[in-house]
């Protein structure tokens, strides 16, 4: 993900290229990169810095209109959300742990399903294109359309899930709630996996296409079982894909706002209180943007640390093998 890996081995040719370019054009790369830089600064960097500033002020409803006059709060916003003895701290810690569990489940199941589908569709057979197309549908579907459908299916009295489990399979005597109470967690995880695994499938399928088939043929002659082939060929060959895939999925899933927002709406079951959703509600329902900003900054710091640790571990491991 660093610039090196993007450039790959082209540095020398680029250098040659640069030398051959007319001197008068030195400003050209700066010019064409400028629109992107301006947009990134205006829409991402400045708002982020403003957000960090907001986390140090007391930005409650009394100051929101004159946000530039909000009194300095020091670290009190942070102290409040990090202190598990306070109501806010408890809720934040709870939300963080829920989100961790959610992320682990969604990322790992999405990867497993995506991998299973990619391997099942690796060899050509009649109708392969149809399956592949079908498996991509949830990814192509606008996310809210899919989640709203799940919301309908999870309705207690009119939904498909309870119809199946209660009326047809008689697994429960009383109709369970799927969008309230502790089962809300199960629901949000299932919906998120449904939405996410086709992306894993897409990436892994793309990765599998770049593995030359003669590698498999050679190992098949050696008598390796499909399982062994997968362990010794597929998995290692896919590791560059996996590196990116896990990181991207982790960041998306941990930041996920859409799934709980569309699935639960205004009813926010504690079991489905994912962190972005929690922060949104804390900011917009309780009118406390300083507190919301402090939680956002902590979230960003956490994601940053995890990402860095992940990349460092990977680099060390790669150095070890290189």
């Amino acid at each position: 993900m660093s610039s090196q890996s993007i450039k790959g081995g082209n540095a020398t040719s680029a250098a040659r290229h640069r030398r051959s370019r007319r001197r008068g054009w030195w400003w050209f790369p700066y010019l064409i990169v400028l629109p992107a830089v301006i947009l990134e600064i205006a829409i991402h960097i400045i708002p982020m810095l403003t957000g960090i500033w907001m986390s140090f002020v007391k930005l409650t409803k009394f100051y929101i209109r004159r946000w530039n006059e909000a009194p300095f709060a020091g670290l009190s916003n942070y102290r409040l959300v990090l202190n598990v003895d306070t109501a806010q701290g408890q809720a934040f810690a709870h939300s963080f742990l829920i989100t961790c569990a959610y992320t682990v489940l969604v990322v790992s199941f999405s990867w497993i399903l995506g991998m299973a589908a990619a391997v099942a569709l690796q060899k050509t057979f009649r109708g392969r294109g149809i399956w592949r197309t079908l498996f991509l549908v949830p990814y192509a579907l606008p996310m809210y359309a899919g989640v709203i459908t799940w919301n309908f299916m999870f309705q207690r009295d009119t939904g498909a899930i309870n119809h199946l489990l209660v009326d047809q399979l008689h697994l429960y005597s009383d109709r369970p709630f799927w969008l309230l109470g502790s089962r809300a967690f199960v629901s949000v995880v299932v919906v998120a996996i449904w939405k996410m695994w086709p992306f894993a499938f897409l990436m892994l399928m793309a990765g599998l296409q770049s593995i030359p088939s003669d590698v498999y043929e050679a190992s098949a002659i050696d008598g390796a079982s499909p399982w062994r082939q997968w362990r010794s060929i597929t998995l290692p060959m896919l590791s560059p894909v996996n590196v990116v895939l896990f990181l991207v999925m982790f960041l998306w899933v941990f930041n996920d706002f859409n799934t709980p927002f569309v699935l639960f709406g205004r009813a926010t079951p504690p079991a489905g209180d994912l962190i972005s959703f929690h922060i949104y509600n804390a900011s917009f329902l309780n009118w406390d943007f300083g507190l919301g900003a402090a939680m956002s900054v902590l979230l960003l710091a956490f994601l940053l640390v995890v990402t860095l640790v992940y990349l460092v571990i990977l680099r060390n491991r790669r150095d070890l093998y290189a």
């Binding site: 409650t60 409803k61 009394f62 946000w67 009813a267």
Partner: protein
């Protein structure tokens, strides 16, 4: 003297360069208003957003004809309204005139985003003495200049299905205990029919009932210094009493915990899935649009328990109308507020929006049922108590309301909450109020 202050203020504004446009419309001659356009955010009062638009549009055209001011109308659903108001206040951008739930009156006043109705503004809209006193008081904290004025009056009543009561040989309840007994007799889970239906997943509705039940116990939600007192016995017992309708009395369908707004429970009542519903009088229009006819239901005040400290049956509910401080069309906005609160507009809107008049001399007209009119007028005038007029009222609604959502959810999913657990939840709500 007042005139002098206006001139000084206007001059200062111009010197400071506070928007050139503000200078022109800041003067008090009404001729500048003509030809301008104002934006109006209406809350959802009728049976749907579209219905509201249909009802309001002819009136707005009439206003344009009278004054030359064009009105851009946007009707906003209740789920969005608070967030939308908040973002408008943050930005100083948004509408010129807007509707607010009157319980938010003091909270929104505290943000400083709404224009104050001082003496001259009050005069411009036709004077404050024509409003019902209790409704007018929701416009701001006691002793301050209000920032909103009443637009529609509402009150809670207990609607009951006449046919279902008759069949069971029951008469409308006069006490909470009778209400529960009747509800038990009318409940038959096997057929999916319950004695009562509640919007148990709506934080605003739940917060209102926390207040009303606590008030019947004689308990206040905030002490005289504005500190929340949610954990005192009166509040805890009141909340428990309301939760018990689902938990111990079992006269409410556990599915009601999924009703995130009042219209869902109204629909359940209209479809005869429940014999009683506690709702504000604007339920009428919605009930009719759900296929019920006016003679099928009756209304009595929400009864208090036999040993109640107070016979409060509702909070002073309703909608206020306010002007954004950032408006560049103050005169046009004032003219519009005057128009909306005028006798003729109030009469025209009373029926389609099923509202009670907020003007002293006006008569309620929202239904042809004289008895129902009398009941609601009596509740509104004699048995309503305003929600606490403190800046943190909105936080009471969101924290206590959400705590009750969650408590109803746990009851619906099979837990049994002890009064101590209720107190605990209310304590969490109380401590998360930031001041």
């Amino acid at each position: 003297m007042r005139k002098l202050r206006t001139i000084v203020a206007a001059a200062t504004a111009c010197v400071l360069g506070l928007a050139a446009a503000g200078c022109g419309s800041g003067s008090s001659s009404s001729s500048t208003a003509s030809g301008s356009t104002i934006t109006y955010w209406a809350s959802n009062q009728g049976t749907s957003l579209d219905n509201d638009k249909e009802v309001l549009t002819p009136l707005l055209d009439e206003f344009t004809k009278q004054t030359g001011v064009k009105v851009n109308l946007e009707v906003i659903g209740w789920n969005d309204l608070q967030t939308r108001i908040q973002t408008a206040i943050t930005s100083g951008q948004g509408p010129d005139v807007l509707n607010i739930g009157n319980t938010w009156g003091v909270s929104l006043q505290a943000t400083g985003g709404l224009m104050e109705f001082g003496d001259s503004e009050m005069k411009a809209i036709g004077g404050s003495d024509r409003f019902v006193q209790a409704a007018l008081e929701t416009g701001g904290a006691p002793g301050t200049t209000p920032t909103s004025v009443p637009l529609y009056g509402l009150a809670y009543g207990l609607y009951y299905n006449k046919a279902m009561f008759q069949q069971a040989g029951l008469t409308p309840p006069a006490s909470w205990e009778e209400m529960v007994d009747d509800a038990k007799k009318l409940t038959n889970p096997a057929t999916g029919v319950y004695g009562m239906t509640l919007a148990a997943g709506s934080y605003t509705e739940n917060a209102h009932f926390a207040f009303i039940n606590a008030a019947q116990n004689g308990a206040e939600l905030f002490d005289s210094s504005g500190k929340p007192t949610f954990t005192q016995d009166g509040v805890v017992n009141g909340v428990s009493r309301y939760l018990d309708l689902m938990q111990t009395d079992k006269v409410v369908n556990p599915s009601d915990a999924q009703f995130t707004d009042g219209s869902k429970s109204i629909a359940a009542f209209a479809n005869k899935k429940a014999a009683m519903i506690i709702n504000q009088n604007n339920a009428n229009a919605t009930l009719i649009s759900n296929g019920m006819s006016e003679d099928e239901w009756g209304v009595v005040p929400l009864p208090a328990p036999q040993n109640a400290a107070s016979q409060v049956a509702s909070h002073v509910a309703g909608i206020n109308i306010a002007i954004m401080k950032s408006t560049k069309n103050k005169d046009a906005a004032l003219q519009f507020v005057k128009f909306m609160t005028s006798q003729s507009t109030q009469e025209a809107l009373g029926k389609p929006f099923s509202s009670l008049p907020v003007l002293k001399d006006a008569k309620a007209t929202f239904t042809t049922n004289a008895e129902e009119l009398k009941t609601f007028t009596d509740i509104y005038n004699n048995r309503s108590k305003p929600l606490p007029l403190v800046p943190n009222e909105d936080q009471f609604e969101s924290t206590v309301g959400k705590a009750m959502n969650n408590m109803f959810a746990s009851i619906a999913t099979g837990s049994n909450l002890t009064p101590d657990q209720v107190r605990n939840q209310l304590n969490t709500a109380q401590t998360s109020i930031t001041s």
